[in-house]
């Protein structure tokens, strides 16, 4: 077990504890068409979104500016579930590796998903008339009756989103982090920060050739520096030559930040 995996799991568990209720209510009882967006104007009072949204936006902005899409790998509560689900079946590894071309094509879906979400936010969440569906409040997030009432209200918002959430969970059983890799609009948006964040995962010694192990080590089955990279750090610790680490994007290779890896390239390994 890699030390970084343990650290990441601890971080994910902490954030899951903080925001799990928000995730559950967002998926099942958020009255807005696109959840997690309009929390500041939401009439629900039993959802912690109103208090959590601004700190989470701040966290995403900060981590995005410094680390890129690290939020997805370290703090997203759904990412935590997806990571865990992805380990369960053997099927997912087989699928990922056999259908590499399909995987690359599916990863492009996140851009239309992001565009669709942006459209829906303006079309559904910010309308001239009341944008939210009928609000269902409950004494507890585990009150299944409240979820049943929400579904029975007949508003397509609740039913559609429940199916999307269920689909995302089931897809995660077949393909590791399927939602995060292919469809998550927030992930796609945060992926853009990988292009300009202060730090990125990169080679210490640029002259060394790629060993090609990244996708195997990576939870997103990608390579460092792409918009799919969630800075999970698995590749840093998994690099047999110890040639990867967090590096400054704007320095001249001098600001080599040692987050979790070794002290530098192993000359023996390189050799």
């Amino acid at each position: 077990m890699k030390r970084i995996t343990i650290l990441r799991r601890i971080s994910q568990a902490v954030f899951f504890g903080i925001s799990g209720t928000w995730l559950a209510i967002g998926a099942l009882r958020c009255p807005f068409g696109v959840p997690f967006v309009s929390c500041q104007s939401c009439p629900s009072t039993d959802c912690p979104g109103r208090y959590l949204q601004i700190p989470f936006i701040g966290l995403m902005a900060l981590t995005g500016a410094v680390f890129g899409r690290a939020f997805c790998g370290w703090a997203c509560p759904f990412g935590f579930i997806s990571d865990a689900l992805g380990r369960l079946p053997k099927l997912q590894a087989t699928v990922s590796e056999r259908f590499a071309g399909v995987d690359r094509a599916l990863k492009l879906l996140k851009w239309p998903a992001l565009a669709l979400t942006v459209y829906l936010v303006f079309a559904v969440n910010y309308t001239e008339v009341r944008p939210w569906a009928y609000v269902v409040r409950a004494d507890s997030v585990f009150n299944l009756e409240a979820i049943e009432v929400a579904q029975a209200l007949g508003d397509p918002v609740y039913v559609t989103r429940a199916w999307v959430a269920l689909g995302a969970l089931l897809a995660g059983l077949i393909v590791s982090r399927a939602w995060c890799r292919y469809l998550c609009p927030l992930g796609a948006f945060l992926g853009l920060t990988n292009r300009f964040s202060l730090l990125r995962i990169g080679k210490r010694d640029e002259s060394l050739p790629d060993c090609g192990l990244y996708p195997r080590e990576c939870i997103q089955r990608t390579t460092p520096g792409t918009t799919d990279c969630v800075i999970c750090g698995e590749c840093v610790e998994g690099c047999p030559r110890r040639n990867l680490g967090l590096r400054s994007r704007y320095g001249h290779g001098t600001a080599d930040v040692e987050a979790v890896g070794g002290t530098g390239p192993s000359h023996r390994a390189v050799g």
């Binding site: 077990m1 890699k2 030390r3 799991r9 104007s41 939401c42 009439p43 039993d46 579930i81 865990a84 689900l85 992805g86 380990r87 369960l88 590499a100 001239e128 008339v129 009341r130 939210w132 569906a133 009928y134 609000v135 269902v136 409040r137 409950a138 004494d139 585990f142 009150n143 299944l144 009756e145 409240a146 009432v149 929400a150 029975a152 209200l153 007949g154 508003d155 397509p156 050739p209 790629d210 060993c211 090609g212 192990l213 990244y214 996708p215 195997r216 610790e237 998994g238 047999p240 030559r241 110890r242 040692e258 979790v260 890896g261 070794g262 002290t263 192993s266 000359h267 023996r268 390994a269």
Partner: protein, 760 residues
Amino acid sequence: MRGEPGGRGNAFTKVRRHRVDGRSRRHLASTVGPGRWKVRTMGSRVLGLIDTAIIVVVIVAVVGFYVAEQAPHAETLVVWSCGGNYHALNHFAREFEQRHGVKVRYTAAPVEYLLEQIVAGEGHPDLIVGRAGPGWEALEQVGKLSEGPDSFAADPYVIITPAGNPGGVTGVEDLQRPSVRVAYSPHAMRPKGKCPSHLMGMLDAKVYPSLAERWENNAIERSHCARDLLRLIEQGRADAAIVASSMTRYPGVDAEAIEVVPIPVKHQDMMKSCRGTIGQCVGVLAEAANPEMARRFRDEMLGETGRQVFESFGYIHISSSEIGQWKPFLKTFIPKQMPPWQVLLGDMLADAGIHREALRRYLKVIYTFGPNPQEAYCRYRAGELLAEQGNVQAAIGQWRRLLRDFPRTGPSEYGGRIFAMVCEAPELDIRSDEHYVALARSGIEKLAGEAAPPQSEPLPGMHSEPPMVIDGDPPKNGTREFALAEDLFLCGEYEYATRDYLKVVHLCYSSRYAPQASYKIGLCDWMRGHHDVARRQWRRTIERFPTSTAARDAAAAVQRAGAEEAVIDIPAAPVEMPAWEPIHDTWPERGMTYGMALYEHRLPLFAFKEMVKLLHGEYGQHEMAAQARYRAGVAAWAAGHPDAAVLEWRLCESRHAGSAWTRQAHEALQAARAWTDLPQGQRAALERALDGPLPSPPKRNKPPCWMRYCLAREFIDVGVLDQGQAALELMKALTVTRASGGKYDTSVVPKAEAELRKLL
């Protein structure tokens, strides 16, 4: 080389190569040089086990929490309530749990839907709590209510202001002062969206004319959520807002930052359809799994424990000393449903061949009484009527709007199973929205070839779309009237559009749509051929609203219109209509101003009708009866009914002796007797009217159904039967007055039906 590190090939190819050579990978790992942390790869099996453990822990935690919610309690009480009660009732439920060792599973949602689910047998709570709306009646009808409903509190409306009350707001009348910044939430759910607007609309109609329009004009925020109002007041960004009393005690509200100004009971008592939002009821359901505990919960809500909790959350509890004045609200209330009756009226008018009034009626259902479940039908029928009249372009326009707006998604809060069960409404053969969408689509396809190509705008504003109306718009306000007028304009019904634009300007005085309406009145005049009147109206628009876009449009219209004169002949009359300066202080003065404006815009028939409405008390009590009678005579003459004019002047002379208008009526009668410029038939009718018997006087203070009947009688008695106005009033006596204020007197039915048979 493909597959080699650094070589060409995709990443997965590379992975496979390394997997095949597992030994070399382990070798690489073990040969990593000295570092702070060594790579310790324990293999995917271990990681898999750990992640499996995480999932197991999460599942166990979730299931455990759920079981903990359910299992350890010997008894579970399921409570449903309307959303507004959430904070108080959740608090009460938690205390109840502690006192009795039971679990209270509590869900709050719009109570009408919860009641619908219970009525449909889809939900099985032990207890339901909610506002005193029509759902309770429905529960009783289907035998789902074991006991109750019992009123446990009142939640009246109050005005909230920032601490120190910087706007100096002491009552609702202050909300119309120009300097007061108000906030309201017309888009919110009914109790917090429609009802404050309804309250202001009722006060406008009965006590403070223009209150609702000015209140709307003062709005600095039209929020989607009523909770935003609290924030705006706390931050001092608004001077006043109307909210339910319980909202002032919501968790998170800074009690130090707001002040509460009560709204007198007599004002809230003027509400009609929203009365039910004030009373709060609780009922034990017949199918309660735990009826004993449900009764205990209810009893404690009604008792001292409940008093302490609910008063701390801003309610007036049933055991409070203040509750006495709120007694009229502590019973369930079934609102009257106007739209189905309006649809029935529209159908009757269409069947009688009074198409223009039928068209207006269908559009009124949409704009004056919307949103409602009958809209798709009315929109389709409006298109159908226009198509029958050969107005293909307008028909297609109606159907395109139908396709744009329907079918609506989700449930609607303005009509549903509950309303259909308990509210008195006519049987209408109205099908689903989808049905009318399909009909409209096929209608468009059929007429597409006949439609004229779109024309450029000869004058500004010829194709402007009506504004959207929402449930939170006050009843019969400027927005609703303007939207109706705009649609009538698009249908080419310029006379009817003029009427409704003039309502915006005069009856909805101070409306924010007044400048546009003023300009569009000129446009209607122009389209009707009264170019001189149009130009005068546009100049007036520029004078009255110089900074508005309407003034700019009016200036452009004056320039483009040129100097072409009127092409419509105006019939000569023995007397002139006396001048009238517009006054908007009281409703009768507004009615008179509106009627005179109709006359000025050469709609004498409708001017006559307004005068008769004034006489029959439609605008309330006033001292202008003699004047209205005299003016009705002048308008009737201009409408081509000199005999009706003579009758009106004779009635003025006989019933208002001593009035200054009696002398004028006498002079008018003499002038009429000497008037020779009339066709033979009209002259004979005039002679008969001058010397024949007078119609019997109408009764005052009649219920609405009789008022409409008497209006129709007057039209019939004086022989003004143009454009089906008499038939319209008789049909109103049979339909819409059943849902209007006041008690419906069924004795009007045979009389109205008999008159209607004669007319049709």
